[in-house]
């Protein structure tokens, strides 16, 4: 029966090619617009570390005071050096890392070629385990390396390919901005999107990092942050040490807290720390701290670009209008065949069979629309670089899930749109139609 109805449907679609083309195009354009914008939205609004996002937190401490705080008395986005070092020493979380983005120059081993830029992060050894960084060779540096301020480096697979032709480079030395570092690990290509741990200090959708070096070593070498740095009030520092003691925030802390009890404990610790600072006279205000996990942080920082949400919203409305259009056209199409329905009903077809027949016909329209939509989506995604910043446009891609979703959405949406026209078709009174003939 299904294939018979499908044949009937296809024949009916052929009988009125203009109307059919109109419906297919409406669905195709509607679904394509939705899918193109959704592919970008999906990429920018995703959870970058789903299995741990509930357990990773970035603590914020109010070090500026109500006079300078962000709107809503929100504390600064990152820590100043003094608070960062205090949190690091106290080490109240099972795992924790302080980090900031750096940009250095690397010298290729071939003396003839010119130096090039590398970028990455200073971090602590827990960084790699906390964020599940995959390794090609070696591993993270040890906690002892942090304490001994060791000149070690973890490099990316890409940099390893460039410097060592992809060979196992553990133990080899590389020169970064005039200082030597020993390679202890080579990561696989790893670049969570959005790059949640450096949303404020760096770029949320930036290029993957090339290098990671111990924070303690970087501070010894006075390597400045390559990311954001925000100061309030009078900028009175005169040198590096003055800068470290200033109220400028530039160090991003992350901690891993595995249970509700740990989270509560850590929150209390933060409150206690801020209260201590108030008593010591460093802060002239009551403790004001935040402890946001990954998704809360991404939400608070509004990582999803406005363009992405607005265009998805408009595309969905567009799709809705296309569907309303389809309802109207299907209604016209089905009711034009009222007499045919009357004959079928008179010959014994039940309402149910009318439903099935016309829904299958609508499904065929939806499928055709979906195929067109798929082509347009592929076209649109390849041209999306015209619309979005390159680092965002790069995230949009057509994968199997999106192909399936495109077809499924167009078929289902068209069948839902066909419900009312089909119901009207099934209501056709055979006697009426036969009489008027």
């Amino acid at each position: 029966m299904f294939s018979y109805y499908l044949q009937l449907g296809l024949r009916s679609l052929r009988r009125n090619p203009l109307l059919t083309a109109l419906m297919v195009m409406a669905i195709g354009f509607g679904v394509a617009a939705s899918m193109i914008t959704y592919s970008v939205f999906r990429a920018v609004s995703g959870n970058p570390i789903p299995e741990k996002s509930e357990r990773l937190f970035t603590p914020q401490i109010d070090s500026w005071g109500p006079k300078y705080n962000l709107p809503g008395n929100e504390p600064p986005y990152a820590l100043n050096y003094v608070d960062a070092m205090a949190l690091m020493r106290d080490h109240k979380a099972k795992r924790q890392t302080m980090l900031y983005p750096i940009g250095l120059s690397a010298l290729p081993r071939d003396a003839q070629s010119v130096p090039f830029n590398v970028q990455g992060f200073t971090a602590q050894s827990d960084f790699f385990a906390m964020f599940d960084v995959p390794f090609q060779y070696g591993s993270a540096w040890a906690a002892a390396d942090d304490e001994q301020r060791a000149a070690v480096v973890v490099i990316s697979r890409k940099l390893n390919d460039k410097l060592f032709d992809g060979a196992n480079s553990l133990g080899r030395e590389i020169t970064l901005s005039g200082h030597n570092y020993r390679v202890v690990g080579v990561t696989e290509n790893w670049n969570p999107k959005p790059r949640f741990f450096t949303v404020w200090s760096g770029s949320s959708f930036g290029e993957p990092s090339d290098i990671y070096i111990p924070l303690s070593r970087a501070l010894d070498l006075r390597i400045d942050t390559a990311g954001s740095n925000s100061c309030r009030g009078r900028i009175d520092y005169q040198d590096w040490d003055g800068w470290l003691q200033s109220n400028c925030v530039w160090v991003t802390p992350w901690v891993q807290l595995d249970s509700a009890a740990e989270i509560e404990q850590y929150r209390q610790f933060l409150e206690g720390y801020a209260a201590d600072q108030q008593r010591a006279g460093r802060y002239g205000w009551a403790p004001n701290v935040r402890l946001r996990n990954v998704m809360q942080w991404l939400d608070y920082m509004q990582v999803v670009p406005q363009e992405s949400s607005v265009s998805l919203l408009v595309a969905l409305c567009f799709f809705a209008i296309c569907l309303i259009n389809t309802i109207g056209l299907l209604l016209a199409k089905f009711l034009r065949r009222a007499s045919e329905i009357g004959v079928r009903r008179a010959l014994g077809a039940s309402r149910r069979e009318i439903y099935v027949q016309y829904l299958i016909e609508a499904g065929a329209v939806g499928l055709a629309g979906g195929v067109l939509g798929l082509l347009l989506t592929a076209l649109g995604i390849s041209g999306i670089g015209l619309l979005f910043q390159p680092q965002i446009a790069r995230l949009a891609h057509l994968d199997l899930a999106l192909v399936g979703l495109t077809l499924l959405v167009s078929v289902l949406a068209t069948m839902v749109a066909a419900l009312y026209p089909t119901w009207r078709a099934a209501q056709v009174q055979p006697a009426w139609q036969l009489k008027s003939n």
Binding site: T37, Y237, Q238, V310, V314, N325, L329, L331, S436
Partner: protein, 411 residues
């Protein structure tokens, strides 16, 4: 004008179709108004002038390799600037901490009163020397340029208050609304010592193009300071017609001068046309996307009206024939369908106008957008009514051609 009553009576028999067309017109109006409004806002933003003469400008971003001492880097940077100014094809060059639309720079609050608690305005700070105005091509409308002996070279960590400052007119007017800024003191950040305004330039945009800078987009201060450090940025004005040549020649010359540097990446060497394009990429992208969606949407709505009206005409051939046989002219039939569409259209745009305002209000709360101007709603209403009339014209003319003899035929 045909009577409206029979049309209403006929529409009652086609409730579903009528509601669908009206709803489609309503939703289309809501989306198109908001989309056009977004387009207008983005286009306004991306066509703002920077205040510079943007043709023939080249920007280079450089990083020193293996230079750990900021002062040493400063010496190298100074050598670069002097070498660039000597290059054939270069009209002038300046070392800057930032430039309009660069995408990164400094900003701070400004007061005019040493004890003022709250800053009066927010401004960006440009650190440049006496070649700044000539290189950028900004117009000095009052006062004078810096003198070479006023320029100080310093580490970014040790910036002292500059005794002189050149401000943009927008900032000058904000700080001294009576237009008397020249010669007056301004206090940057929490400075206790003033900088004196020695010059006012007509216009100079901040280094950012994004929406968050909209309320201080033209508030700029130029200070006679040259920053030392591992990074240096140069703005170069090419002689007319030499820009394309310079994009290759300048980095080559710099590399020849000193090999221990990095000028790479998508921000290494850029003409100002590229800078502008990168700064406003997402604004332009959103405007294009909205434009395309609007066009397709209008086309689909028009096609939908054609489709449904054609169906109605087909359904009513017999009645049309009867009316024609009873004396109705072709014109009567044509205007019947046009009026019918106009009535549905009016119902649609009334609902649509409400939806457009509602959608905008919701977006205002969600995306910090501006309020929709009523002119857009009015323009959208007229556009959609005209579109409806145009779409219905072909089927209505076909209806008018139905011969009276149709009344005597069965089916």
């Amino acid at each position: 004008m045909p009577h409206i009553k029979p049309i209403l009576a006929a529409l009652k028999r086609h409730k579903a179709g009528t509601i669908l067309i009206a709803l489609q017109i309503a939703l289309t109006l809501a989306i198109v108004c908001n989309a056009l409004f977004i387009i207008q806002q983005r286009v306004t933003r991306l066509s703002r002038p920077t205040g510079m003469d943007e043709s023939n400008l080249v920007a280079i971003q450089n990083r020193w390799v293996g230079v750990t001492d900021a002062a040493a880097a400063g010496v190298l940077t100074r050598a670069d600037v002097l070498a660039l100014r000597q290059m054939p094809g270069v009209q002038d060059a300046v070392q800057v901490n930032a430039f309009p639309l660069r995408g990164g720079g400094w900003s701070t609050g400004v007061r005019v009163d040493v004890d003022g608690k709250k800053p009066i305005a927010h401004t960006t700070q440009y650190f440049m020397d006496e070649h700044a105005l000539a290189t950028m091509g900004v117009k000095l409308i009052a006062g004078r340029n810096f003198r070479a002996d006023e320029v100080v070279t310093t580490d970014p960590d040790k910036i002292q208050t500059s005794p002189q400052a050149i401000v943009s007119k927008a900032l000058a007017d904000k700080l001294y609304p009576d237009g008397s800024a020249l010669g007056k003191p301004i206090y940057l950040g929490d400075d206790r010592t003033p900088s004196t305004v020695i010059g006012v330039v007509e216009r100079l945009q901040v280094p950012w193009g994004a929406a968050w800078t909209d309320d201080f987009a033209e508030n700029s201060v130029i200070l006679p300071v040259q920053l030392t450090g591992n990074f240096s940025t140069y703005l170069i004005r090419a002689k007319p017609g030499q820009q394309a040549e310079l994009v290759k020649a300048a980095p080559a010359m710099l590399t020849k001068l000193n090999r221990l540097r990095v000028i790479t990446g998508d921000r290494g060497v850029r003409t100002f046309e590229v800078v502008r394009e990168q700064a406003y990429k997402s604004d332009r992208g959103l405007a294009i996307l909205m434009g395309v969606i609007c066009l397709i949407l209008l086309a689909i709505t028009a096609a939908g009206i054609v489709g449904l009206t054609s169906f109605w005409v087909g359904q009513r051939r017999k009645q049309i024939g009867v009316r024609r046989a009873l004396g109705a002219t072709k014109h009567d039939i044509l205007s019947y369908f046009l009026t019918e569409n106009l009535m549905i259209g009016i119902a649609g745009v009334v609902i649509g106008a409400l939806m457009a305002v509602g959608l905008n209000l919701w977006m205002v709360t969600q995306f910090e957008m501006a309020r929709l101007s009523m002119a857009y709603v009015a323009a959208g209403v007229i556009a959609l009514l005209l579109l409806g009339q145009a779409a219905v014209l072909a089927p209505a003319m076909r209806a008018a051609k139905v011969p009276p003899v149709e009344a005597t035929r069965s089916v």
